[in-house]
């Protein structure tokens, strides 16, 4: 079941060209939604203005190589491993959702474009990955939905209460992955299978068609913001923030004599402070 290509079986009802056209349409909707979102929120304008302001306050100029290294670090930490999340549960859930989504979308495109009919049998690994991607998306997504979502975790909102625009993205993702799996597992079940397929397409259209209103576009501007965060630390502008001092450094202690006077020459690690307790705000 999980090794068979559901789109090949669908080809008996819907011509492969229609499926391919739908995928292209979804791609175009994402591009259009992201551009409109960027124009509306002026996020690109803010980003470049902020970068210019930071350059003005910079104490040193970064070379191309240094910027390239920072970009690589951003990709390795913030993009590939969701390193900016302080909450480990959120980070793991985000990793499942992100990689599940990527695997699911890429394998969907491969199955629809390369193996659209039973005449072109797909290697077993591709449908397997398609199911695995959807399952990972469900695991990370439902974990987020039931317990990590800030409304549920901290604001006392019940899991079944929808939050309109705020939930568009996660509802689209979960609906798409859940009904994709149900549709694949109910192959040959007649009307029920068709119902799951219709819901799968409906949620997919909702996900890719609501980019302008949802937080779908965060996957494009978040890496840019993370890169800028690294640049301001490296070029000394630091967005007017104070430096990060090493309190055991004799130079720092000479400049700020209160540190050795009250904390000794080698101050110990004081522990987590208020971060010992997770925020739980009602």
């Amino acid at each position: 079941m999980i090794a068979s290509n559901p789109f090949a079986e669908l080809a008996a009802v819907i011509p492969p060209t229609a499926m391919q056209a739908y995928v292209v349409l979804m791609f175009l909707l994402v591009v259009a939604g992201t551009i409109l979102d960027m124009l509306h929120k002026k996020s690109a304008q803010y980003f470049f203005e902020n970068a210019r302001k930071a350059r003005k306050n910079a104490t040193r100029t970064l070379g191309t190589g240094e910027k390239g290294a920072l970009a690589l670090k951003t990709v390795a930490k913030e993009v590939l491993t969701s390193g900016e999340f302080n909450n480990p549960k959120r980070r793991i859930s985000h990793l499942f959702t992100m990689y599940g989504f990527i695997i699911f979308v890429v394998t969907t495109a491969i199955l629809i474009f390369a193996y659209p009919t039973p005449d072109y049998p797909a290697p077993t690994v591709v449908p397997l990955l398609w199911h695995l991607g959807a399952a990972m998306l469900c695991l990370g997504g439902y974990w987020f939905w039931f317990s990590i979502r800030v409304d549920v975790a901290s604001e006392g909102v019940k899991w079944y209460q929808l939050n309109g625009r705020g939930d568009l993205f996660i509802v689209g993702l979960l609906g798409m992955a859940t009904f994709a799996l149900l549709w694949s597992f109910s192959m040959g079940a007649g009307a029920l299978n068709m119902l799951f397929f219709v819901l799968f397409v409906a949620f997919t259209t909702l996900l890719f068609g609501s980019v302008y209103w949802s937080k779908f576009a965060h996957m494009f501007f978040k890496p840019a913001a993370a890169f800028q965060k690294r640049v301001i630390k490296a070029d000394g502008s630091r967005e007017n923030m104070p430096a990060i001092y090493d309190v055991s450094d004799p130079e720092v202690q000479a400049r700020f004599p209160d540190i050795p006077a009250y904390m000794g020459a080698n101050p110990p690690n004081m522990g987590l402070g208020i971060k010992r307790e997770a925020p739980n705000h009602f």
Binding site: G164, E239, P267, M270
Partner: protein, 160 residues
């Protein structure tokens, strides 16, 4: 000088919501990022600014009296037990950095166990001194600490 949140920095963790004494830091329902729902009620206590793990909260002056272009930013590092302030003046020249201890002992340890302390005597109850007052204000070492006893001199005017 109300607080505001840099949306690209905030990850919606909610520490500011928990700590705000005026209960005006909330999580936006659509973007799931923190924001100040009532800037007029913000008394600039800087609690949220210091609690934010992402350094995403800043404080700005009202345009009618605060010098535009200035900046007062803070980073509270609990693990190191220090607080660092950076104050930039609007002339672009004066740029001060300060670093001070905020604890000398690990957080959450050494909490006074008042139940283990002997109950105060009637004489202590009748006294004008508060619990442990001679010890806490260091009267035991002689007398009250003053500028003179610490070798300090009062200076006139505003001294930086």
């Amino acid at each position: 000088m109300p607080t505001f949140v840099y949306m690209t920095r905030c990850d919606g963790c909610g520490y500011c919501v928990d700590i705000c004494p005026s209960d005006i830091m909330h999580i936006d329902k659509v973007t799931r990022r923190a924001y100040n729902i009532e800037p007029n009620m913000c008394w600039e206590c800087y609690s949220c600014v210091k609690a934010c793990p992402q350094d995403a909260i800043d404080v700005r002056g009202y345009a009618d009296f605060a010098p535009l272009g200035h900046s007062v930013r803070v980073r509270r590092d609990e693990e190191k037990g220090v607080i660092a302030w950076r104050i930039k003046f609007r002339n672009g020249e004066k740029d001060m950095e300060l670093l001070a201890p905020i604890t000398t002992k690990p957080w959450g340890k050494h909490i006074p166990q008042l139940s283990d302390v002997p109950a105060p005597t009637q004489m202590m109850r009748d006294s004008q001194l508060l619990f442990n007052e001679p010890k806490y204000i260091r009267m035991d070492e002689g007398a009250l600490h003053t500028l003179e006893s610490n070798g300090l001199v009062m200076k006139e005017g505003v001294v930086y």
